[in-house]
């Protein structure tokens, strides 16, 4: 029967579940850094994986596949952000369900208040373990810009923590 999807794109329900199991948390982390909203970040996970299934791109390695997923999820999240009229604050009720403990809410809120462009670079570098050169390729900026964003991000983080401690 004609289905509009090629055999490579035609994934079984089990394969889809495996994909979600394997990559959803990584994609969610990246999207949440940009969107600061659980529901929107979940939508971005869904859109990214749908795009992956329907486009069925070829990859030479697992790292290449992950880099593609990060790039696409960041672009989808940035597009979603453009349709928002105002930036939302972190919703504490939502944060309970994404692995952040109650004792850490204030610190988490402080971290999430950093600009998205710094959070993405810092998350890829410090949390996901990518090198500056790899981050530059993934998000499409120069290596120098990655290093500057990392430096600025660290400074902003320190300033925010120090402000909080003075209160």
């Amino acid at each position: 029967m004609f289905s509009g999807l090629t055999q490579k794109q035609n994934k079984s329900d089990e394969e889809i579940k495996e994909l979600v199991e394997k990559y959803s948390s990584l994609i969610f982390r990246i999207s949440y850094c940009i969107l600061c909203n659980v529901e929107d970040a979940e939508d971005a996970v869904q859109e990214t994986l749908l795009k992956y299934i329907t486009k069925a791109p070829e990859f030479n390695s697992e790292e290449h596949r992950k880099a593609w997923l990060i790039k696409v999820s960041a672009n989808i999240s940035k597009n979603m952000l453009m349709f928002r009229l105002k930036r939302e604050a972190v919703n504490i009720d939502d944060v309970k369900n994404i692995g952040v403990g109650e004792a850490d809410y204030e610190t988490f809120e402080l971290i999430m208040s950093l600009p998205a462009k710094h959070k993405i670079v810092m998350t890829l570098y410090y949390v996901e373990g990518y090198k500056s050169k790899e981050i530059a390729e993934i998000i499409g900026i120069s290596e120098e810009a990655v290093r500057k964003r990392l430096q600025k991000g660290r400074e902003l983080l320190k300033t925010e923590f120090e402000k909080e401690e003075l209160k």
Binding site: S25, E42, L50, T54, G101, Y126
Partner: protein, 72 residues
């Protein structure tokens, strides 16, 4: 040296993840959307086939009429 602010950042952002029920929910939604796309593609194919059959039929009728006129 990784300062303590950075350690907090790594710990908290690293802990952000989706729980199993949210993952299941996302899987179900993706499966449903793909099924809808397949259904829609099937409908588009049926519609395109009908249009093609009509176009060929119209062409054949028109050609037949032209031949009839020439005979007369």
């Amino acid at each position: 040296m990784t300062d303590r602010y950075l350690r907090e950042y790594i710990r908290l952002i690293g802990s952000v993840s989706l729980n199993q029920s949210r993952k299941d929910c996302i899987s179900d939604q993706i499966i449903q959307k793909i099924a809808e796309r397949k259904d829609l593609s099937g409908k588009h194919f049926a519609a395109a086939s009908a249009v093609a059959v009509l176009a060929i039929g119209t062409f054949l009728i028109a050609r037949g009429m032209k031949q009839d006129i020439n005979i007369m």
